[in-house]
Amino acid sequence: MVKALDRKLLRDLLRLKGQVLTIALVVACGVATFLTFVGAFRSLRSAEDEFYRATRFADVFAQCVRAPEEVAGQLSAIPGVASLETRVAAPVTFDMPGYEEPIRGLLLSLPRTMSTPMIREGSLPASADEALVNEAFARAHKLRPGATVSALVEGRMRTFRVSGLAQSPEYVFAMTPGAAAVDDARFGILWADRAAVAAARGMEGAFNDVVMRLAPDASERAVLASVDRVLQPYGGFPAVGRDDQSSHHFVTRELNELKTWAIILPIIFVGVAAFLLNIVLARLIGTQREQIAALKAFGYGNGRVGGHYLQMIAVIVALGTLLGTGLGWYLGTGLTAQYTKYFRFPSLLYRLEAPMVISALVMTLALAAVGGFSAIRGAVRLSPAEAMRPPSPARYRRSLVERIGLAVLLSNIGRIVSRNLGRRPLRAIASVVGVGFATAIIAVGLFFGDAVDTLIKHLFGEVFRDDVTVVFRAPVDSSAVSELRHVEGVLHVEPTRMIPVRVMAGHRDKRVVLFALPAGVTLRSVRTVEGQAVAVPGTGVMLNATLATSLGVGMGDKVSLEVLDGAHPIREATVTGLVDEMFGLTAYMQLDALHRLIGEQESISSALLAVDPRSIERTVAELKSKPAVMAINRRDATLKAFRDTSAGWMLLVSTILSAFAGTIAFGVVYNTARINLAERERELASLRVLGFTVGEITTIFAGELVTLVLLGIPLGFLIGRGIITLILTLLSSEAYRFPSDLHASSLAVAALIVGASALASALIVRRKLDRLDLVAVLKTRD
């Protein structure tokens, strides 16, 4: 007996292969989204955890100008400090063959007990003239163990032999200060023997860098305050916990962002897929009504029959999960690879964990079973005799359109279509909602591409208008402006000053960048999310709206600014402006006002240049020759880097989502059409017998489909809008606000994809109608 049911299952699946495949694809897309994003997140998280654990990443980081080694004793006596290690750091300038400009880097004493670099190749330095090199830099310059590297330390050229390549948890994300994007070749780190570094730096018996691990119950804030107090006499810079350690801070920010995506996207995609799956499965089982009756008549119990259909659902879902797992593995690998472009984890590989696949399978099975179950229950409840009888002819009545007096607008066929839809309004509504979700999900997928487009136009068309930004090593006198004006090809120069500050209001505080622009600045514009330019007020400080909210201040309030540079002066300033920006947490001031505030005369830290594009190469070469210039950021290069990294990520996500959404949309529309056909086969056949032509019954059928699609698409626009608003609410973080532009063309594309799916489905159905075996269809139930 079981064998017979199994055979039926196989035959059913083969007969419904088109529908099975498309439903499986819908499931696959949901599962793949889940596995891609959740998997990528978990892979990154576990790569981070493993790396931090293996290298014993420190908890607290502090620097000072120079402290005698005895101070270490004072530091370790701070309650809450479990262990510490003092280090010596020296800024170096590398002289690399093939690079004209000097390359910045660091020479660090090799940490032994915490934050130890993980050796990837080679071995620890055995002598004073050997050093470990960070892997990314080494690979970019093709350095292998045994090679030599020359660096200028404290004005003296020193040559180190590379003993090995390593990766440090403190430099998972390593970016040159002032640079716009990660450039492996232009930031190098050397780890050498403590004695050698101390000698090179003139730090024998002293240290300028210390890392600590905290006891499990320690209060980080208290420890940081104590460390600051101890190190203050030795030129201490504010100590930071892990959260503010620059590499970890960035990694955490990216991970949190990915986590948000990993929550939102699967919910939406799995949710939509599940919803559509429910509608489709319920109706698919509905068409099997007669067969269920027949099975029951043969003596199969309700449980057996129900089990059989659940089995069918399980096969479809399992197939979908299988496809989705493969797809998710492929896309997850690609997405994770995007992160390896700028995160240096020793083992950042996409890992497809079995529990994730199982949970995806269980989740989709459960969601599908819910939909299938009620349909099956409905079907098995009927007594076989009743079920085997064709459903009693439905009561057709004048449709809504006819009742409100618009009957004249409907032809006979139109009337049939409208009455058909009106006969089963719930089913029609479900179909419309299904088409709506299919449309919405495409619009959501395309939205991210639109967002990147808007973002690029906003940032590179409206906010950053300088061709080249020159960042200086240290603040310079404003006479640099006229000096830059004389560089070949420079058309216009505007000075700016950027200074890290801690903004304090009451008990709240936030570290941000204070950006000072000259009055009447043209090459950099402060803009709201809507693109409205905002002038920086002549007095006081203008705060980013998000920053103001997190500090709990508004217009006219006083804030304290602690300059995190030099003597750390603390100044009062009035909030004279608020700007709702798309990116960042910035405080703005006019250059003059900043100079007055911190008592500096005309010092600038960077300059914005308008450059003749014809001679930009020569301009950049001349700028590079100036010793005080630290970084030169070209807008075109920054844009390219932005497209390659952040935008590249978004476009990848957008492409994946759009493809999934298209698949889901086709799956839904196709199944709606096929099930409609299955439900109506008899009626259509009867009409044929009554003399309607194939063309006419196709029109009846297509008319219904077109009506559903035409109603579903506008609904989809609304649903899409809603989903996007939801995503934006969840995504908006401190770091950025997302533009909510959804281009009309994206809506049109969504509509066209759904329309094309409907057309393709209609064509397939038309072929079926052509081959409609009238005798077979009509005789079944007699």
């Binding site: 409907l410 068309g461 006479s479 640099a480 004006r485 009309a744």
Partner: protein
Amino acid sequence: MKWLRRSLLIVLFASIVVAIVYAFRPKPIPVETAKVEQGEFKEYVEEPARTRVRERFIISAPVSGELARITRKPGDMVEEKDLLATIRPLAPVMLDARTKSELDARLHAARASHALSTSAVAKAKTVKDFAQKELVRIKGLVDKGVLAGVELEKAELDLKIAERDVRTAELSATVAANQLAVAQAAAGDAPPKAEIGWELRSPLRGRVLRVLQTSEGVVAAGTPLLEIADTSDLEVVATLLTTDALRVKPGASASLDRWGGPALEARVRAIEPSGYTKLSALGVEEQRVDVVLDIMSPPAQWASLGDGFRVHAKILVHREASAIKTAAAAVFRDGDAWAVFVVEGDRARKRRVVVERRNGPEAMLGGGAPLGATLISFPGNDIHDGARVVLR
């Protein structure tokens, strides 16, 4: 009714097509604009500069001596002929033990020598007295004819010799007395301070800029003591790159700002003929030359400016009274030439233009864009000839 149904279907279909076409039609690009205007076009050389008093007087010590404490403070007003400082003679040097005993011995010797010469005078006087008496006696005898006249002559000679001896002894005594005084002075303590001194007076009405030597003390001749100048008589020195200085002509007008007050008018007086090498803010060696400007604004406007204050000089190097100009942000490279996007209706049209001059924010056009035309400033990559635009 068939026609109605058909036309309704057509309308439905047409509106869908229109909606789709509309959706795909590029949206007008929001742009910010700049006008082509006629007006004054000025080109400047800008450079940080500093003020300098025109005439600077350094009062220095004319002689070595002891300077009395200078009570003038920087910023004090001084009138012409006002007393600025006084230099008194130096106190004697301190004696060490060897010199002291040497001088003491010399004092003793001088005393002895003085006593010796005093007694020599007494002796000579005694001899003279005797010679006088002898002369009287011999004269009587000669008058009586007892002695020959020659004896009288001899007595007279003896008296003369004796008188000379007295004189010699007296002179020796004076020498010895003075030598004693010298020895006493050398060996004795410092005499009280002389109250007289050399008074230094102000050569002009002005203000004290700096006091280089405040405390009382010994100064060598030529030591600078005070700097005095008339601070209402300021000039401005801008250090220009020599290449820029060539474009600046004496008499060129300039404005001074960013000094803490309203912008001041100034005029170039001279470009110094000798340049020098200076390390620039960005660490490059440059050839610079001092350009001197006179402040033309009424002194009341800049009364608070002092010597060596920072100002920002904008020196006019070129001026067109009536130029066709626009924002430099509207002009962009097009091959080897320059071009602009002119907004015509709702379309952007590319026009080649000739840029004759630039001054940073503005560009002077030599043709290509009609006066009054609206140009797109900072045209983005998505703008092309014929693109639909909308003013922001």
